[in-house]
Amino acid sequence: MKNLHIYSYRKYVLASLVIFIALVYIGKLFQIQILSDKYKKLAERNSVRYIYEYPSRGLIYDRNNKLMVYNKASFDIVVVPGDIEQLDTNKLLNILSITKEEFLRRLNLAKKYSRFQPSVFEANITEEVYSKFQENKYFFKGFYVQKRTIRQYPYFTAPHLLGYLGEVSPSILSQDSFYLPGDYIGVSGLEKAYEKELRGVKGLRVMLVDVHNRIKGSYKNGALDKKPIPGKDLYTSIDLELQMYGEKLMQNKRGAIVAIEPKTGEVLALISSPYYDPNLLVGRDRAKNYRKLAQDTINHPLYNRATMTKYPPGSVFKISNALAALKYQLIDRNTAFSCYGAYPVGGGHDIDCHIHPSPLNLPGAIQYSCNTYFCYVFKHFVDNNQFPSSREGYMVWKNVINKLGFGHPLGIDLPGELGGNVPDAIYYDQMKRTKKWYANSIISVAIGQGEIGATPLQLANLACIIANRGYYIVPHIGKAVGSPQNVLSFPKIDVDIDSSLFMPIIEGMEMAVLAGTATIAQIPGISVCGKTGTAQDPPRKNHSVFIAFAPKNHPKIAIAVLVENSGFGAEWAAPIASLMIEKYLKGKVNRKDLEQKIMNAVLTNPYK
């Protein structure tokens, strides 16, 4: 035909069109099959369902294998949005007692997370809700009951120590793929510090489902399935009886007690008062109770006063001052300073002292807690000629103090430990706007006031250092994980001071209890060494502070007690420490009157 010849060039046009479209299609194939793995992922989500099995969380025991935390079964309702079919919404609203808006809000959150992975819809349902739900579960396709465990505390004790669980936060979710939304994670205390050991591993079954969501079998023959692994138990060094005894002593008072076994660094008791029933932060009412506790701005019950606050240590600090001077051979046991009732600074800033024999040597100064003595020691050190300037002298002094555990966290196995405060020279440079300052302008530091801040843990640790004559083991609560034989190890820190130099200190501390400021702390038949402290907290009353260890030779316990705004060290802190020591070493306390007096005392008004 004529036209076929005339337009024969068009065969090329047509062939090009065919080839062009083929290339476009192959290009599209390339894009979705090779370049993008979006569809591969969608395919897997489409056809598999993830069923999780929650393991039991590790239990926590005290040093005598008494159970401090255990688990209780709890049920959550979880939702897989992609599974929802013909939902009888009203019925569900009724059973859960929530509004339609709340229902939609939660459902949207779940959808945003994933259509095919479960999200917690309602946590910790009551038994009633559980049974009603199970009866009607056929109307709630897409909603399932998930068995979980929550914590139960057999004793009203140690909430700060043990910590509590909360729902995992979005930031952690994005960092650690171990957790799903709605999972629980340790938020504070040992629960947080040992989260990885306590949490176990979730079990998983991955099932293949067809387009109607019927389970068709195991995905990849169970290759991705995991059996749940229960959490590892934690064995702690806490002596539950001692802990609860101390908490009773501290009732109606604000403050902290820290008791450590000096040779091992094991924490025997860690008390922060006021405290609360740990069962409050579990289950349905957790959020409500937490709010109530957090809003108590007078007592701050959620704060761990043993590790998370810094107090001026007061006279207790004098010991560190002395140790620094001893180390640099600036003083020795017999070095004496006279005290006429005050240390002269001039300009109305004299440091007052109380009445005691004068002059005193080092043990005597400790025994009677003479402020003047230690101010002279400090001046002797910082302004000493062997240093190019007082500033440099201060820095050397500070270095010793740091080694004694002050000014930095010690590394206890609890989260949120503060490091106290020992300012470095730059701080004073800025404060005084010159690098030329001298001991007298920062003299209150010598007696543990001024800018010096310490946690009760650091004070107890100081007691350990002295008890051990020159070292400490990093204080810790966890002893073993998984089984009592699987013992954890913690570093030994040498403070770099010859053990012989501790002798005058110990002598002084022994005398303090026998015939000095801390006679209240005497226990018949036990040689107790202690040091009182009275930390000023203007305009409120002084903090009552005391550190001690016993027995003097081969000490078994080192302890620090701080009672906020209550008076002299000997008034409250010393007797409390003494009772604790008696309880621990003898097993029971004979001084019932003292015990009663302490337990009944209400010291929560700081302005009286």
């Binding site: 035909m1 047509l14 979705i32 489409n46 056809s47």
Partner: protein, 423 residues
């Protein structure tokens, strides 16, 4: 001398080989798409309860008829064109009256025993034959406008009936004949017009109308300035400007009042306006997921999770390419596309070499019909074309489709055996 029944040396083995490969791939894909391990106890090839069993039956029938075609006297094929055409028209009208409705369109006649006949598939064959016959007549002159109208009417008549059946998909297929007309000299202008209208239609859905009108007006003014002397050109520009405006403005009406809801949905999904996961978008999404998850080499036979667990609707028929994509991956699916390209280009090649116009026209028609089916079907599974239900030649499940395509295909092979003769 007894003539050979089939001059086997004149058979186009390339085409036959390609046909066999596609048929095998197709059958295996149908098997995988309808495979239900729960019901699968004993394997019988001829299990008429299963899709793959029914397909085997149609394949065997088609093979038989293919051989018949090869043996037939070629003149018979030429002469049966017109009667066959009227036969299919009658069948189409009959379907309108007593037909069974499947998937929303009334295009099937139930022959009993679950065997369904779809006359539309044979209508494509018939129209190809008739067009070939007419254009082969020496007296048939394309300068005569009446003849052109006749050709168009021959194509339009079955198209209208098919539209009345509510089968928009198959109606669209008749466009393939316009490619034939293009080869025969139909001014390219009509094609431009057609594509231009489609593009404008989609653009009016996506961009605000006044913006689009402004752009078009600007372009028109620009081109007027560039061709300022040519009066005829200016007239043409003016006409196309009016045409564009009319098209743009009528888009809304056409979209909402002419197109059916599901067609609106499909277009919405294509342009990304709507995402109803359980509705129209579902098919596309599932198809893309199935194909996309195939990766380079696919998941392997019967290992496609999307196919196996029935995530892709119509996965044995319209969306069979999804099963191929998932199981055979990029390599497999590209191979299938290239196979079709090979068949179509081979047919182009053969068509040009025919002495007789009848053969040229018929071979071209077949090639274009296959082309349009492949473009629409695979395009649909790749979300490049709105969902239009038409089968993938030789691969989709469907007896009538397989048979009709086989007949056309082997007619091409048969005609080619006589390429040096005048028919």
């Amino acid at each position: 001398m007894k003539e050979k029944i089939i001059h086997t040396h004149r058979l186009d083995y390339l085409l036959i080989f390609a046909y066999l490969i596609l048929t095998i791939i197709g059958w295996i894909s149908i098997f995988a798409s309808s495979y239900d391990p729960d019901k699968f106890t004993k394997f019988t090839l001829f299990n008429l309860n299963a899709l793959y069993g029914k397909q085997i039956l149609w394949i065997l029938i088609s093979f038989t008829l293919a051989v018949v075609i090869l043996i037939l006297d070629v003149k018979f094929l030429v002469n049966m064109a017109i009667p066959f055409y009227w036969l299919t028209i009658i069948l189409l009208v009959l379907t309108l009256v007593i037909g069974t409705i499947i998937a929303g369109n009334k295009g099937w006649i139930n022959l009993g025993n679950g065997i369904l006949l779809q006359p539309t598939e044979f209508a494509k064959y018939a129209v190809s034959l008739v067009l070939a016959y007419l254009l082969n007549l020496p007296a048939f002159n394309l300068e005569n406008k009446k003849n052109i109208y006749l050709l168009i009417a021959i194509v339009v008549l079955p198209t209208l009936i098919v539209l009345l059946q509510n089968d928009a998909g198959n109606a669209v297929v008749f466009i393939s004949f316009f490619f034939l007309f293009y080869r025969l000299g139909l001014p390219a202008f009509f094609f431009f017009l057609f594509f231009y209208s489609i593009v404008l239609f989609f653009l009016s859905l996506l961009i605000k109308q006044y913006v689009l009108i402004s752009i078009i007006t600007l372009l028109m003014i620009l081109s007027t300035i560039l061709l300022n002397k040519n009066r005829k050109a200016i007239l043409k520009i003016l006409i196309s400007w009016i045409f564009s405006i009319v098209l743009i403005v009528s888009t809304n009406y056409v979209f909402f009042h002419v197109l059916k809801k599901h067609q609106q949905d499909r277009i919405n999904v294509l342009i990304g306006r709507e995402y109803d996961e359980r509705g129209s978008a579902f098919n596309i999404q599932q198809s893309l997921v199935a194909i996309g998850s195939g990766g380079l080499t696919g998941k392997g036979f019967l290992q496609g999770t999307q196919t196996r667990y029935n995530f892709v609707p119509a996965q044995a028929t319209d969306f069979i390419f999804s099963a191929i994509g998932e199981q055979l991956g990029f390599i497999g699916s590209s191979f299938v596309i290239l196979l079709y390209v090979l068949i179509i280009l081979r047919m182009f090649n053969l068509a040009e070499k025919q002495r007789s116009t009848f053969s040229t026209v018929f071979i071209y028609s077949t090639a274009f019909i296959i082309f349009v089916h492949v473009v629409i079907n695979i395009g649909m599974t790749l979300s490049l074309v709105p969902v239009i239900g038409i089968p993938l030649p030789f691969v989709s499940y469907g007896g009538s489709s397989f048979l009709a395509f086989t007949l056309m295909y082997f007619t091409v092979i048969k005609l080619n055996m006589h390429k040096n003769e005048v028919l």
